[in-house]
């Protein structure tokens, strides 16, 4: 008997999902999070979930975990002191960056640039030069570099990054530098750009590798600590960490390349949403994860989340694959305000966060937030409370929104409705970015809402996007744990290889792909994934020669070998047409080649809900409340989600409550409970 465990550590709760690998049966548990040392909460949860399942912790063989440690390290600026070695003449590569000043015409007037992630005082130059063709122009001067590195000792750097010009074409000089660094700075971990991200563009490669070094000590500490504690409880357990691209990495690999974990948290949500939606029979969906300060959205087609070759956290953007999650600064805590000069209503990006929080929570917050607007409108009812001990004060919410109403010349309720409309519009903008603006028709997609505030707003977003049904899964936390438990072990190997079709051959390219595949599969082998459970897919980043964009084309290696470059080229033309309305006659150019190896997909059974009639049980109804919607006050029924049965139908306006989320069903819509407990909202027929 073996079990796998998904663990999601949220701000308030730690959710766990235990899967019996032989029967695919699942068990869940929810315990309070322990922010000071989250491993304590995890261990408490493990005890709880094991008790629920009636097993001993030793039966768990795999723990799958999504973590926000890397993200928070960047956001809070608490990473390591990183040293950097560049090519002579390039010491200021991070200081200059891409010379870009954000904010439009005149934006420089208010733009203050932050200091580089690796301080200039800890950056040294190596006298060496690699050509763009991968041939050494000038060999490394070793002695001089050794002296420079020794001098860095006084700076007490905690990690070192080596990023030399053109190392994407040949990393030999970087390896030489690493050798010297290990001697000169014993014990300091070294990251090489040719190893972390062997791709063209010196700034992007450098910042990515530096970011890797920056988060490395914190992530390593966290992972090791958790691993050690888990091992104490479960001798043979393997810890896996969810990567930004939705794949799983062993704790060892995660420690060495933590730059791949920057979006680990959101990726867990998306993976979970994909899994849940699939159980409900939907493979094409828009995920909508709305929290306290921000909202993450992503597009999933044929059960696969769109990936992109870039990850942004705060003002750091790195070259690392991640689920293409777009984040907008709109959440329950977003603050509404009316600037005096224009008299326009703006919502966010400032947020009241958890402290002091929305005014309605009576923790000292006074600014009008989106949550306060929801309280005023009656979407967050004050009459009934389930679990948690958060008191909701409507009078305080009204008081907070009053100044906004006054400035706009509206009633408090109208102003609250306005705040909700504006914040919905901001999120709609993000959803459009991942769908319409990429050539996808949102009407072909279902919309799945989760996160603390997602179920409150999902119905409204479905209306704006015309995406149906709107799926509200049970328990937003468990959803992420599902994501953690169901993702596959994954690794990719890539290489920049810039050549026009006519300047290379299928044989040469296929040869490189074979090597990359072997490299990626080796990682899986190390992780103990059996050969029969492994599969490898192939990707190429390609463009018209001279173009700046890169589109990623997936293809079968055997098709390439048999039919040639046409297999890739035709698909690229088609994508280009879909995205930009035209294709070109120009030569096509390969840029990056990539092999992605994956382990077997986990099969777990969704929890089954017992069947009920169309009408919910009388005991499920908690009462009714007044909501302000479509410009007037209306009566809305309140339901207890835990008492709903499969087959129940709830006509809007209605509000469905559960311990950590609240679902709004708008007038003219109906929510149907499916066999696994999702509420599927559609317009009333």
């Amino acid at each position: 008997m073996s079990y796998r465990l998904g663990v999601d550590v949220g701000g308030t709760f730690t959710d766990l999902l235990l899967v019996d690998e032989s029967s695919n049966q699942t068990f869940t548990a929810k315990v309070p999070s322990t922010p000071d040392d989250s491993s304590i909460g995890v261990l408490n949860g493990i005890e709880r979930v094991c008790a629920n399942a009636g097993i001993k912790p030793e039966a768990i063989t795999h723990v799958m975990h999504g973590t926000t440690v890397a993200t928070n390290t960047v956001l809070t600026g608490t990473g390591a002191k990183v040293g950097l070695v560049t090519t002579k003449g390039y010491k200021q590569v991070l200081q200059i960056a891409r010379s870009f000043v954000p904010g439009g015409l005149g934006g420089w007037v208010i733009y203050n640039k932050s200091d580089p992630l690796a301080p200039l005082s800890c950056t040294v130059e190596a006298d060496e030069r690699m050509g763009a063709d991968g041939k050494v122009v000038r060999p490394l001067k070793k002695g001089a570099l050794a002296d420079e590195l020794k001098a860095l000792k006084n700076e007490n750097i905690e990690a070192l990054t080596v990023s030399l010009i053109n190392s994407y074409a040949n990393g030999a000089n970087e390896k030489e530098v690493a050798k010297i660094a290990r001697k000169a700075l014993p014990g300091v971990p070294v990251s090489l750009s040719s190893d972390v991200v062997p791709e063209m563009q010196e700034y992007e490669r450098t910042i990515t590798t530096v970011a890797n070094s920056y988060v490395r000590p914190k992530v390593a500490n966290y992972v090791r600590n958790l691993q050690r504690k888990l091992k104490r409880m479960m001798k043979d357990v393997q810890l896996h960490i969810l990567r930004s691209d939705g794949g799983m990495a062993s704790s060892k690999v995660a420690e060495a390349y933590p730059v791949n974990l920057l979006m680990s948290g959101p990726a867990g949500g998306v993976s979970g949403a994909v899994w849940i939606a699939r159980q409900a029979g939907f493979e094409n969906l828009l995920t909508f994860d709305m929290g306290g300060t921000s909202t993450d959205v992503a597009l999933v087609q044929d059960g696969k989340a769109q990936l992109r070759r870039e990850t942004t956290v705060g003002d750091v953007t790195v070259r690392a694959s991640s689920v293409d999650v777009r984040t907008v600064g709109a959440g329950g805590g977003s603050i509404a305000h009316v600037p005096e000069l224009t008299g326009a209503l703006r919502v966010g990006p400032e947020s009241a966060g958890a402290e002091p929080g929305p005014a309605a929570y009576n923790k000292g917050g006074e600014a009008p937030t989106v949550t306060d607007a929801n309280v005023v409108l009656g979407f967050l009812p004050t009459e009934v409370r389930l679990g948690g001990d958060m008191e909701v004060r409507k009078d305080l919410a009204e008081k907070a929104i009053e100044p906004v109403a006054k400035a706009l010349g509206l009633s408090v309720e109208q102003a609250a409705a306005g705040i909700i409309d504006i914040v919905n519009e901001n999120m709609y903008g993000a959803l459009r970015l991942v769908s319409v603006e990429k050539g996808y028709d949102p009407r072909d997609f279902a919309l799945i809402g989760f996160g603390g505030a997602g179920p409150l707003h999902a119905n409204a977003l479905g209306k704006l996007m015309n995406s149906w049904p709107v799926i509200i899964p049970p328990g937003p936390g468990v959803l992420c744990a599902y994501g953690d438990a169901t993702t596959r072990v994954r690794d990719e190997a890539s290489r920049t290889f810039i050549k026009r079709f006519r300047d290379t051959s299928v044989k040469e390219v296929a040869g490189i792909f074979d090597k990359l595949a072997a490299q990626a599969e080796k990682t899986l082998e190390k992780e103990g994934v059996a050969k029969k459970d492994r599969s490898t897919t192939y990707q190429v980043d390609i463009r018209y020669h001279g173009q700046g964009l890169l589109l990623t084309v997936d293809f079968e290696l055997k098709d390439l070998k048999r039919k040639g470059f046409k297999v890739i080229g035709d698909q690229f033309d088609e994508m280009h047409r879909q995205l930009f309305t035209f294709a070109l006659e120009s030569d096509k150019e390969l840029v990056n080649l990539r092999a992605v190896a994956q382990g077997r997909e986990a099969s777990i059974a969704a929890g089954k809900l017992s069947r009920g009639s169309k009408k919910p049980l009388a005991s499920a109804k908690l009462g009714s409340t007044k909501v302000f919607v479509d410009g007037r006050r209306q009566q809305a029924d309140l339901y207890d989600r835990s008492r709903l049965k499969a087959g129940n139908e709830i006509a809007g306006p209605a509000i469905v409550l559960e311990m950590d989320s609240t679902t709004v069903i708008l007038p003219g819509h109906v929510g149907k409970v499916d066999a696994t407990g999702n509420i599927l909202i559609t317009p009333q027929a």
């Binding site: 891409r98 000043v101 733009y111 301080p119 063209m200 008299g343 519009e425 964009l549």
Partner: protein, 647 residues
């Protein structure tokens, strides 16, 4: 004859009231559409100038042609006045001639596309976008000849032309244009990209109009313009004094050994209106440094600058245009008469921002910024490589952003929105060169409480024989400092020949022959400092020294003395600062680094170059100016050319 708009089902729009929320939603959606235009263009364009450096600008205007979202303000009014033809559904206009669109674009490298957007048989909006083409023919690769005397030398000039009629591409016409360019595949792709971006805007506009209804959409655009006008009216009242403010700055030379050229502007407020008068600006140059400045564009520069400095919350559009009046005398550097050459207008264009800053800031010193990287210097390198293939590079230089009341100026950055540098690894893999040095120049940023950003040094090692052209400025005049801040360091270009000789290149030069292994240091200028350098925290100065951005000697400009380990020597610093403060007295509001006469006198010694001669102006221009002064200003004759008959 102004343009005639042809609608198949003309019906007036009804102005309807709407709640502020709907208005905000439409504003948001319009902004999204504008950014989507950029995104589509960047991803599909081919020339590094557009796709990497982002030398392009989008706009969406209401049906009267007023810009609702965009960057540089609308030119549609001027275009409609000058265009003698019809504007119909399915049209897409292309023009590259500044003289035919009242300076909407200011040199013929910029290809401007304009699309009237129709819905159900009536005009509802316009979308427009222009992008800088790497080459449009003419006498030099890159089409930016410093020594051009007439616009005819600067490449193929396209009057407003329907490149699409009834949504059908006029292929013959496009082929004819492409035939005159050195890199037609780039132009073709960039052209397609511009079209795709504009079509995206059109799609979004129609979607929005469908979502909210035509009348609501129409009224919302109007209301957005009015909302902006109300906000700007308040801003103008509180920031622009009724007493006359005055400022002047210079373009250092014209590439022909003459200069500097004065740009002079006065500003005052009358009631709620602010007036700008460029009277006293030098006459147009016989070379190509003229900048055809569109009055509306200047209003936008000015409005945006005010918004950024005083209240960045305001969304900008054309709504406030009635609140500004701009007078630019004809025949001057800023409103040259055809056929004056225009290609190298970048220096005057950039300098306008320094003038604006000085003008608006002197009445509000708390908001005054130093002189910045007011230019986008050009570098061009072209020739045939070993395999007989033509290579041609056009790149923009970056430099020091000035110190500003809100903080230090970044080092080696851009003044222009959305510009980014081209990765050196990209350059090295596509062009026969190596970038051996890519670093900012220590101490080149002006000292100040907020330090000016450093200029950038780029060392180009050429690997093939070829020709280079350089268009730079601020080698004679200084990027000035403000409120106690010092000027930044000036620019220079040093060519180290493979044979060991060293040449100090002129700031503007064309077709300099280079050989394999020659090395060019292209050093841009630093930003002016802002505020008293003696008050900058000494720790921050020490930090910059440790970072290599300021030298130990340079720290003395801040009155900061460092120990050997680069920590602050508190006592010596205290004493030096006291001494310097006493010697200096109350700092002036502007520090220009000397008068023009003084700069010229010191020129040879400091820069190695002869000082420029007093500019010679053309008698036909200056004579004309006298006449204009006497009589009423004459409207320039509209181009009488009929709409293109290419089909």
């Amino acid at each position: 004859m102004p343009a005639k708009i042809v609608e198949s089902k003309p019906r007036p729009f009804k102005r309807v009231d709407m709640d502020p929320i709907t208005l905000d939603i439409i504003e948001n959606a319009m902004l999204n559409a504008r950014y989507e235009m950029d995104a589509v263009l960047f991803r599909t364009a081919m020339s590094p100038g557009i796709r990497e450096q982002h030398d392009e600008f989008p706009m969406i205007a209401n049906l009267e042609g007023k810009m609702v979202v965009g960057q540089f303000g609308s030119f549609i009014h001027g275009f409609k006045e000058a265009y003698d033809g019809t504007i119909e559904e399915g049209d897409m206009f292309l023009t590259t001639d500044p003289y035919s669109c009242n300076g909407a674009i200011s040199h013929i490298n910029d290809w401007l596309l304009l699309r009237p957007i129709f819905k159900d048989g009536r005009l509802i909006a316009y979308a427009a976008m222009f992008g800088h083409m790497t080459d449009v023919g003419g006498k030099v690769p890159g089409s930016l000849p410093t020594d051009a005397r007439e616009i005819f030398e600067e490449g193929i000039r396209i009057p407003p032309t329907k490149i699409y009629k009834n949504d059908e591409l006029q292929q013959d016409l496009l082929d004819l244009i492409m035939h005159n360019c050195r890199l037609p595949h780039w132009n073709r792709s960039d052209f397609n990209a511009l079209v795709a971006a504009i079509r995206t805007a059109e799609k979004r506009v129609i979607e929005l109009s469908e979502r909210f209804g035509d009348d609501v959409f129409y009224s919302a655009l109007d209301e957005l313009l009015e909302r902006n006008k109300r906000a700007m009216a308040k801003l103008i009242k509180t920031t622009v004094p009724t007493t006359k403010q005055y400022f002047e700055d210079y373009v250092c030379d014209d590439g022909l050994g003459m200069g500097p050229y004065k740009i002079k502007c006065s500003m005052w407020r009358e009631g709620s209106k602010v007036i700008f008068d460029f009277e006293g600006t030098d006459p147009q140059s016989i070379s190509s440094i003229n900048f055809y400045l569109n009055e509306e564009m200047f209003k936008m520069f000015c409005g945006v600058y005010m918004i950024m400095v005083f209240d960045p919350q305001i969304m900008f559009n054309d709504g406030f245009y009635d609140l500004m009046e701009v007078h630019i005398p004809e025949g001057t550097l800023l409103k040259p008469k055809a056929p004056a050459a225009l290609s190298c207008r970048t220096h005057a264009l950039g300098r306008i921002f320094d003038v604006l800053g000085g003008l608006l800031g002197q009445g509000n010193p708390d908001f005054l910024c130093g002189a910045g990287f007011s230019d986008s210097p050009h570098f061009m390198y072209s020739g045939y490589d070993k395999n007989g293939e033509w290579y041609q590079l056009y790149a923009i230089g970056f430099g020091g952003i000035p110190g500003k009341p809100f903080g230090d100026g970044p080092d080696g950055h851009s003044l222009w929105p959305s510009f980014t540098n081209v990765p050196n690894e990209f350059l090295e893999s596509y062009f026969p060169l190596r970038i051996e040095v890519y670093e900012t120049i220590p101490d080149s940023g002006g000292a100040g409480f907020h330090r000016g950003g450093n200029g950038l040094s780029m060392g180009y090692r050429f690997l093939e024989p070829g020709e280079i052209s350089i268009h730079d400025d601020r080698w004679l005049t200084y990027p000035w400092g403000v409120t106690g801040g010092e000027p930044g360091r000036r620019s220079e270009k040093i060519l180290h020949r493979a044979d060991g000789t060293i040449e100090n290149l002129e700031s503007k030069c064309d077709r300099i022959k280079v050989e394999a292994n020659d090395l060019l240091y292209f050093n841009t200028w630093g930003g002016g400092g802002c505020g008293d350098p003696l008050k900058r925290p000494a720790e921050r100065v020490a930090f910059d020294v440790k970072a290599g951005l300021v030298t130990v000697k340079g720290a003395k400009r801040y009155g900061v003395v460092l120990n050997d380990d680069l920590t602050v020597n508190e006592k010596k610093t205290h004493n030096l600062r006291a001494k310097m403060a006493k010697a200096r007295g109350k700092p002036p509001i502007f520090d220009f680094g000397g008068s023009i006469d003084e700069l010229k006198k010191r020129c040879k010694k400091e820069t190695g170059h002869e000082p420029p001669r007093q500019p010679e102006f053309q008698t036909w221009v200056t004579a004309g100016m006298e006449q204009v002064k006497k009589s009423k200003p004459k409207r320039k004759a509209a181009r009488k050319k009929k709409a293109s008959k290419a089909a």
